[in-house]
Symmetry: D3
Subunit: 314 residues, 6 copies
């Protein structure tokens, strides 16, 4: 298969891509044509169907897999495919993993590990709270397993939210051993729950873009709200504990300027902030190293706020 | 009546004050005594009962009005009353307005005006949402009318929250005339609702101090949550509108560093931020001018972030 | 009429535009040609006359209205007109409103309202000061009515300065009712005068660009200076009042980083800062909404420092 | 002579001090007494005359030199003199230099040097501008020679403004040799004029405190205004040059947050900012070193924003 | 034993304390006396010997343990001991642990664990570098084991540097498992070495205060220098590796404003910064919780930049 | 000679340029070609040799001077030379000054002046320290004379480091006269030494780019290290003085955010920071003025953080 990031100007292609978008338009001369956006796991590209009613153009729409015949051109210094034929293909003709970025770890295995952390929680209220999401709410669990942890930046792939959540939870467990003043059940619970608002902040793949609620409300507040709703359904959940859980969620970005309406006031809130920040930055760094083929300096990285460099062999 | 801010060292007094707190303690020599904190509308003062079991000391507790006989002393460079007699007084012997700071406007009149704003809302969902708090929830309404808008700073008196909310609402109504692109129903509704979380952020008078939830969660997030709960009880409330209302609440402090998890993205959210900020600062300035007897410079004010000065007569 | 923002590559045109600039140049081969810049209310475009001495090219200069015949080309990824004929047209052949952006309100009506505010000032010195500009100095008044309030950003059109000044004055009048500690005469006067330095900061239309003095000195200091000069011509103007007026002008941007050499120390200075800031931001937001055809998110706005979005219908 | 900073509790004194302030007051018991503030070059101290009408108390007022007999007491953890006798003394009984801080350099010599810099200016307009202040305006010149450059911080003594101005001018002359792109006449002129607004920003000694205009308008804007007034009296002063001079004055603090409404745009403005800043900081450091008797670390200095330390002998 | 933080005014004492400082002075009346500073693990206190030559006053000096007889007084609102007898005591009369704060972990056990990390390093150069300090330089090792990690703040006790270093090393080891792109040998080495400059930045106990070099150069640069010196003694140490090691040391504070002259450019440098920061903040939080007896809010903590609170029982 | 910044698209050239880089590559069709980068003092340009083995292509490599025959084309909106012939030329056929930017002052004269400053140092240790670099270490001296002071920004030419160092030293000498509290020998020494780390931070011309050590460690720390090494070779160099010298080097950028790990604590450190900053900014401004042909505004300059403008004739 020829990936989108390998296409060149003036190349004739016949490849299967995933359709992100298809809309109709009219040229100045009154002729109809279609704007199409195609995707695989390496990126996406615009395309045009200048003859939408010709015989070779199947009916298809967003999220269909379609075999595209056409030529790659340059327009406004970007590549674009001029489509001459488009055949909607059947399952089995393609491998979905070629079209959507996906975690390198098995999602079911990761999910099982997350459930085992829930299983170990002793405090009955915290345990019920976690179960309410991950065991008793299959829609949520399904959505959680498919979500990314970000639009781009880091963990921006299917299963990314699960992978990041698990990594943060493991690090928090390590903290509870190193700093025994931490309340383990509370910290593990908020680690598991800290980013659940992201299932509402980002739309599902292949879009994986900010939703309106994501921009208007944000995953921090939505996550706290989702938790508050579940807590109300749990008989006898202690009020103080409910406030502490939500505080940890609200404060997990650590600083006002990163969108937390409260700064960490509890030791567990501070620990969660460190775990979240450490995992986000280490994964970002690792993804940058993997993405780059050059040795030595990789240039300035905005998220890490530093020029970064590959370490030599040790 | 001799107010607390008029007391001097070595003065004998016999005055009625409101009790904020009374706790028992033991001296190093094993003798019991009581720590008392007394309040009137000008401030509060610590007091000691060295002989708690003597005949002249009535049974009394926090929030009682008590006639105090004793002497004012200095201890650790603060004044303190040494209580020799304490008589619990009856309603009618004192004027509550002498003991708790209170808005200079009539609270019922202000509340009626607020209700008339609600009455004018055309959008049925927004109207129902406001009514759900101010008309259908008498506990909330009662609490709202008694709350201050702040611990100190500005509007720090009974009825202060109502006074501030009304002032912001009026200013927002003015905006809707000056800037017709604003959606009036939305802006008036969020003006009325913007600080309702403060009834949970601050404890009731005479304490009027931050609650645990106030510090852990804050009135911005709690207010948004309270609104979300009421919205769920309103059939057919449009989802987009629900998000816009909550966005305005979340963004009403305007900047991350002032505790808003989102910056204003809607014109109404920006207008609400201006109205809230204008009223808070103008009232702060006016309270400072009233509190000061000197003419000319009043010194640096932290909230206004400037040296401030009384304007001369014009 | 075909507006400049509608032109396309390789299009032949014959349209009347306003000339912003015309200069002569010589190619490397020693041939003379002319650089021309053309404008209408939608923008401006560069043009070339390769044959400046040919019969079809009239004599014309900056600020003339000229009918251009030629072809639109692309050069360095911007459009450019190659002019073959240029005919200077007469008044009546075109509508000036097509060429310069102009307030949607009638300038004479707005000016009358401003004068009526001056008429209401009771303090004789402040009244004389305002009259000295708006009634006794017709050159100033004329210039003021034609100025914009900004190069771009907000109120960037003919009459914009008048419209913004009036809007700020009205809002200040509202403040004097809501916050009776404000000295009305002082606040209304400084509202009227706050931006008069802009007639020197920005050059006249169609240029409407920063002058050298605008960049070297700025409208804040120049405005204060202009006021000081007029004050010296008013017998008995109280010194303290003169300082308070100028302080309000100097402090009206509210923060050092926005170019105010002093922070607001007087309640009227703070009120003026709020009124100016509120009107600037609300108008900016409204202009953005009008300029955009898309619904929903409009992207990040640098001046408002936020992603902004159209509110849905309420 | 016993200086004010050497006084101790319970000490009987008979010393001549300069009177800064004398006001009458009444005790709670209705008895009159006088509040007095006394000064010498080491500081100032409050004093009380409990028997203002007794025989030993001369008539005297602010700025008189008075021989004080009395006892030093402690009140509210500050020292205070209880005055029993007060004799107004004659010139000759005291040395003024003991009472007011004064430059260690001869003021007439410094002033002559400043005049010689003016004498060297070639540009006739700039020369006339400087002469207009320092030669043709004897009131200004007299006030300038007596002023300090600051309330405290650095050069906070009589002649301090002259000393600082001369030091900045010399450094600017050095710059014109090192960086020949600098226009010498312009830079020397603005160096001489840069702080003239301070004669209005600070009141005369012995007060040497911010004036109302100093706080409302500041020396930067007032200095620019004073220059503009003189420029208008000079026939044919080029407009562009007038703007450049005022720009240098307005920008000489270099940053908005230090009260400059414009950042340096001209090479001379930048040079002036460096000269002013260098001299202010070097003099501050030197004054700190002189004031401290300890060797080694002197602690954190707010103006220098650093812990500072005496360098060892080299 | 009565600890220093338990002393009260007007109390007669007879207790053994550690002497931090003893200096001689002369009163105004020419009488000699001694200034003494005494310490135990709860704090320190000033004391005076008004009769230094009296029989009951033994010869003693800084770092001696002395039995003090005297009375506690208040002077300038601080407590002070007036010493009447001072007897130098012998080892065995006191428990050193009462006088100097010390790690709650066994220092030899911690040091062994640190050595075992060194033992596991595979890269021969990095191993030799660590050994050069911790195995081949007994003076360094001895000093390292006794040092604190800070003057106060966190780990401010004997063995604190060792405890912090070990904790950071363990956390880094965890990171190498969670983020396999990290070069383990490099990260473990720089974790072990990251704060060695502190043995020069802080003086030995009981002083434990910043040295001159600590203030002039800082532990970050001194640590890098110490490493560079040892590297030069190791044959064939690869240059690139030497630069990477020193970069990690220089960048381990993560931000310029925390004294790092470089921001982390290598993944190991970033990991080290996270480990150091996490351990410092978690330990600070834990120490605050231990120091406070109240439940609930502990007030604002400058280092953690937040109001902090004890979590309730979970 | 036709300079690189004068080349145009579609131009045939035959010019001598300096080769910065030559590397071999293979097209998709398997054909070999060479990537070349050519430089003169006005800039550099990419070039291709599509027929590397053709007769007209001499053997040549980086740092050779080569006569290029070919055509200028545009590729990806940048110019590029397609080389048809390449003849390696001999010394004498070209003038090196056309190919590398160089100080306008004679380097030997400047170096002599620097040595005369060293000669005047009285303190034997400081003198020996400076001599150790500039007299006893010819490799260093040679490298120093050829280095630039920066990659671009200011003094970015051969001899730039020497020119800047001399200028800073002269300014520091001026300071020692104006501020006699400064220790002259110390200040002159650290002025001479302050930027020596730059010989390791930047690679030699024609590259003049950041080295790996430059990015990982920086010239501030490397300079301090280089000094420390030399100090260890000087018998009896006082420890305190050694720390003061290094402190001045470490603090010479004045602020943490500019890469100084310490803020200036000594008067000499502060003076050095002022001298370095003044010279860097004045030279930057002067270079900008020289580079621009337009009069008036030159636009925003990032380093000077201001819009800058040519001053008119005075």
């Amino acid at each position: 298969m020829k990936y989108i990031n390998e296409l060149h100007e003036n190349e004739n292609i016949k490849e299967i891509y995933l359709v992100r978008q298809r809309t109709s338009a009219v040229t100045k001369n009154g002729k109809s044509y279609d704007n199409v956006n195609l995707q695989d796991k390496t990126g996406n590209i615009d395309a045009k169907i200048w003859d939408p009613n010709s015989a070779g153009i199947d009916e298809f729409e967003a999220l269909d897999y379609v075999e595209i015949t056409g030529m790659v051109k340059e327009f406004n210094s970007a590549l674009q495919i001029s489509i001459t034929r488009a055949r909607k293909v059947k399952e089995g003709e393609y491998d979905p993993a070629d079209y959507l970025p996906v975690s390198r770890f098995d999602r079911d295995t990761m999910f099982s590990e997350l459930l085992s952390y829930i299983d170990d929680i002793k405090n009955p209220y915290l345990k019920k709270l976690c179960e309410a999401f991950f065991m008793d709410d299959p829609d949520f669990a399904d959505r959680f397993k498919k979500s990314s942890a970000a639009k781009s930046v880091h963990h921006g792939f299917i299963g990314g939210l699960l992978e990041h959540t698990l990594s943060v939870t493991r690090l928090c467990e390590y903290y509870t051993k190193a700093y025994p003043d931490l309340k383990k059940d509370l910290l593990i619970s908020v680690a598991i729950l800290h980013d659940i608002g992201k299932v509402r902040e980002l739309s599902e793949f292949p879009m994986n873009d900010y939703t309106d609620d994501g921009q208007l409300l944000g995953h921090i507040v939505m996550g706290s709200e989702m938790i508050y709703e579940k807590i109300k359904g749990i008989d006898g959940f202690p009020e103080r504990l409910a406030s502490e859980v939500r505080h940890c969620i609200l404060a997990h970005h650590g600083e006002y300027e990163f969108g937390s309406p409260k700064k960490p006031a509890l030791m567990e809130a501070m620990a969660l902030n460190f775990a979240d920040n450490t995992d986000a930055k280490m994964e970002t760094f690792a993804e940058q190293l993997k993405a780059s083929t050059s040795s030595g300096w990789l240039g300035f990285n905005r998220l890490l706020d530093s020029n970064i460099r590959k370490t030599g062999e040790v």
